[in-house]
């Protein structure tokens, strides 16, 4: 293996290109029209155009990706996360084109991609699954049949999409009278998001935590689990903060949960990097939830507490190398790590995407801080893709130190021109429930509801005064240049507003069928 095509964009493409360089391998980027000058394109050794901006025409277009791989002479393909990372047809197309797909086999991707088949595989490996239906309900399945199953499982139940993920096609049903409408809503959402309206039922656990286990499996039968990640801080079923180790997992529970996760992976012959997601209830009982057959967004925190380069190992495994890591060391975290997902979203406008030109950007650094970013000053956050711009991680010898360093880093993060979730994270990390580690998967939504829309960026008196001084200096400078007419108001002075991308993007977002959300549905999960 000499040259790897990275079939992705943004921060994860940058991450993979860096791993290639660390291993002395050449890297090939691909780009849609709006990404011509994106960071990943300029960082890679080579780059090839793969089509127009909509993901289906570029980053999801298998034929064009394979053609780019051929044109560049790449011998392997890394899919990143999202886009085609969990698409068995893409993995098969790579294989058929003589390219090494850096990930599990198409069969395993297909098996774990079906939530019901994955549940069966987990149960067969002796791993507890959330009580629920063992089969899928096709779109034609009568509601009366589903109602009988719901009674058997016991309310409250969750309706979930068989092909699902990211909370799409998911509905909570408190009692029988809500069931019929929830089934219809879930089917319709699953159908449009995944092209598969099949659903299944699970019992809804009370105040569960989301705990997941990173795994690596090689082609020689070795599967090694890593210390768990805690991902319970979620907004509408999307992770926003992850940390490792979990503040509530004892070493005994760690042994059981990581052992069970490795059993599932071994049972299906898993190769490459993957993650088993579990729910942990208040009694300390854990249940298999699903398996992600790819690199996880939040992999950096595992790297920080174990010293293992997961992306480099994905590549080494794909080259046929043996895992020669010390299994005990992977389960013994060194210190504590936290990650915040910095999104181009406006936390003061219901977390609406905030695409546009990044007018200025100063990323934090310093001791034990890592910023995995694909953004830079002057760059654009396009409307077509997931608006993740950076993953900010901090490490400490213990949890309080990791939190303090993250707060320091968030204070330094200075992004101008677009709205980001940085002010939201500054608030979140100061919350007592976060600092005490006392939370479950619904905690953040509850905290947000209590705020009742109170803005996250409320400048204090000092900030306001300095802003007024800066604005006055700015006007004075403008005045000196513009030679004002005596009665000119500032509004009159406004002669030319650059028709920037932000305006265009904002108007595009309002066009039905073109918006970011629509694209996100087609693109699939946020990793």
């Amino acid at each position: 293996m000499r040259k790897i095509l990275v079939a992705n964009r943004g921060e994860i493409a940058v991450r993979v290109i860096r791993a290639c360089r660390d291993l002395g391998l050449a890297s090939v980027a691909v780009y849609s029209e709006c990404d011509r000058v994106s960071r990943h394109v300029r960082l890679a050794d080579e780059a090839y155009a793969i089509g127009p901006n909509p993901p289906v025409d570029s980053y999801l277009h298998i034929g064009r990706l394979i053609a780019a791989a051929r044109a560049s002479g790449a011998d392997a393909v890394h899919p990143g996360y999202g886009f085609l990372a969990e698409n068995e047809a893409f993995a098969a197309a790579c294989r058929d084109a003589g390219l090494t797909f850096i990930g599990p086999t198409p069969d395993v991707i297909a098996l774990m991609g079906s939530k019901t088949a994955a549940r069966e595989a987990a149960a067969a490996a002796g791993v507890p699954v959330v009580p629920g239906t063992d089969r899928r309900f096709d779109p034609a399945a009568p509601e009366s049949v589903i109602a009988v199953e719901a009674e058997r499982i016991g309310y409250p139940v969750l309706i979930k999409a068989v092909a699902g993920g990211g909370g799409k096609g998911m509905r909570t049903v408190a009692g029988p009278d809500e069931l019929a409408s929830a089934i219809r809503a879930a089917r319709s959402e699953a159908g449009s998001a995944f092209g598969d309206a099949a659903i299944y039922l699970e019992r809804r656990l009370v105040r569960p935590r989301h705990i997941e286990v990173q795994l690596l499996g090689d082609e020689h039968g070795t599967v090694l689990p890593f210390v768990e990640r805690e991902c319970s801080i979620q907004r509408r079923h999307q992770k926003v903060v992850e940390e490792t180790p979990s503040p509530v997992v004892s070493s005994g529970l760690r042994d059981r949960i990581t052992g069970a996760a490795a059993d599932v992976a071994r049972a299906v012959g898993y190769t490459g990097a993957g993650t088993i997601e579990c729910l942990l209830d208040e009694e300390g009982q854990f249940y298999f939830l699903e398996m992600n057959t790819r690199l996880q967004v939040e992999h950096p925190i595992t790297e920080l507490v174990t010293g293992v380069d997961l992306v480099a190992w994905q590549i080494r495994i794909a080259r046929g190398e043996r895992l020669d890591l010390d299994p005990a060391a992977l389960l013994t975290p060194r210190g504590h790590a936290i990650e915040c997902r910095i999104y181009a979203e406006d936390p003061d406008a219901a977390f609406m995407p905030s695409p546009g030109r990044i007018a200025g950007l100063t990323a934090p650094g310093g001791p034990f801080v890592r910023d995995d970013s694909g953004a830079e000053a002057g760059g654009e956050v396009p409307i077509y893709y997931d608006p993740l711009i950076s993953k900010l991680s901090a490490w400490g010898t213990d949890r309080p130190q990791a939190i303090a360093r993250m707060q320091r880093a968030l204070r330094e993060y200075d992004i101008r021109g677009i709205r980001t979730t940085v002010p939201f994270f500054r608030w979140l990390l100061a919350q007592p429930s976060f600092q005490q580690g006392a939370f479950h998967t619904a905690t953040l939504d509850e905290l947000l509801q209590q705020r009742q829309g109170k803005p996250f960026s409320e400048p204090d008196e000092d900030d306001q005064e300095i802003a007024a001084v800066a604005a006055a200096l700015h006007l004075m400078r403008r005045d000196a240049r513009a030679r004002l007419e005596p009665d000119t108001t500032y509004a009159d002075l406004w002669q030319h507003v650059p028709r920037g991308s932000a305006t265009d993007a904002a108007s595009l977002l309002r066009r039905p069928g073109v918006g970011w959300k629509h694209q996100a549905r087609r693109e699939g999960l946020r990793g």
Binding site: D414, R416, L473, H474, V497, A506
Partner: protein
Amino acid sequence: MTVEIEAASRSRSVRVARAGQGYDVTVDGRPLTVDAVRIGQLAWSLLVGPAGAGHGGGRSYDVGVLERAAGALTVYVNGRAVPVAVGGRRGGRRRAEPAGDATTGPQVVAAPMPGRVVKVLVKPGEAVGARQGLVVVEAMKMENELRASRAGTVREVRVVEGASVEANTVLVVVE
């Protein structure tokens, strides 16, 4: 130069005068000493001290000024965004000119950029004073109040509330 500046919806009167390498600034009458160095198109480094402290020292702020729309700025102060609205200028050269001189004829108030009319504040025939608000236009989620540049009578109102307008669309004519 004195300007009225609305930072986070509270208005402040800011007077700026050059003083050697820096500036003497008063905010609502409170004097400050400001050392300001531009470090890019949009960015300044400010060292702010009390009056008489001498320039070149004080609290350190990284600030950025971004123009969002007519009279609407976002000022970043050490990474924290502060919305700022800038109204009509006051003082400075304007005060030296006798009001109304050399500026006769109708005032045509047009939209500075594409947006939506949020509020029409005047009716035809109404007398308006200088700098009185006429129309509020929302563009890119920021509301901008367009004001009369001098006193007069509203002759025409060409838009209604809720209307979408292109840049340079005439909104109000004052005579």
